[in-house]
Symmetry: C2
Subunit: 125 residues, 2 copies
Amino acid sequence: MPEEKKKKKVSGVCSQPLIHEDIVERVQKKMPDENKLYDLAELFKVFGDSTRIKIIWALFESEMCVCDIAYLLNMTQSAISHQLRVLKAARLVRYRREGKTIYYSLDDSHVQQIFEMGMEHILEG
Amino acid sequence: MPEEKKKKKVSGVCSQPLIHEDIVERVQKKMPDENKLYDLAELFKVFGDSTRIKIIWALFESEMCVCDIAYLLNMTQSAISHQLRVLKAARLVRYRREGKTIYYSLDDSHVQQIFEMGMEHILEG
DNA sequence: ATAACATATGAACAATTGTTCATATGTTAT
DNA sequence: ATAACATATGAACAATTGTTCATATGTTAT
């Protein structure tokens, strides 16, 4: 829509070396280790999928085998297995074998509190 | 690698109508509303990116303008603006204008507790 | 050994997502 | 009005991710 404007310089875009040097410096000192923040993001990424959220929430209630979960969530056994692998890798679930069946259960004490806080945030809307 | 096996039926794959009907039924009753679980996943998805995690963590310490954040995280102003938009949409940050500058700050009381729980989980490893 | 079955997994594909680039918008000083 | 600058945003692109499909693996009963 806009016709050729006769702008001279692009300039702008954080041209200052730093606007609030003092603040940035103070914050920088308080920032946790880069790797820890990365790992934290990785953990939340695991929670950031509704299939996995459902699986975890179901496991709050009871341990279940893969087929149970698939049936409960109305999803493919394969899809559930793939997601359980992700949860396993994040050390959020554990499993035990009983014959052909494999039972999964929650393996974490913090998840419930994290979820509760998350719910509180959501329900404020 | 495996040569043609003479399997007859594919069968399997959750052939039973339900393995543990009682458990599944009980869990089903306890499951929260589908939409709430979806929203919860959406919230955690926002935390599931290290750039956004860093921005939030920085804002724990102090409100900052966009250029400050970009400088702190050694990222483009544009990238930061895009992410701030995501955080804004999730009602996690608020902003105030002061002249040309826009200051962002945290707008949530639960995030810190969620992050703390997340950190505890990570640090157990 | 073989069949049946619960589960796991690699490959493929579509969908989603984060960053970059270019440029628009909004504010201030001149 | 215009220049300068802080910020926002649309389009494009590469990278990541979730599901499906086919099939492998592991266990049990025969």
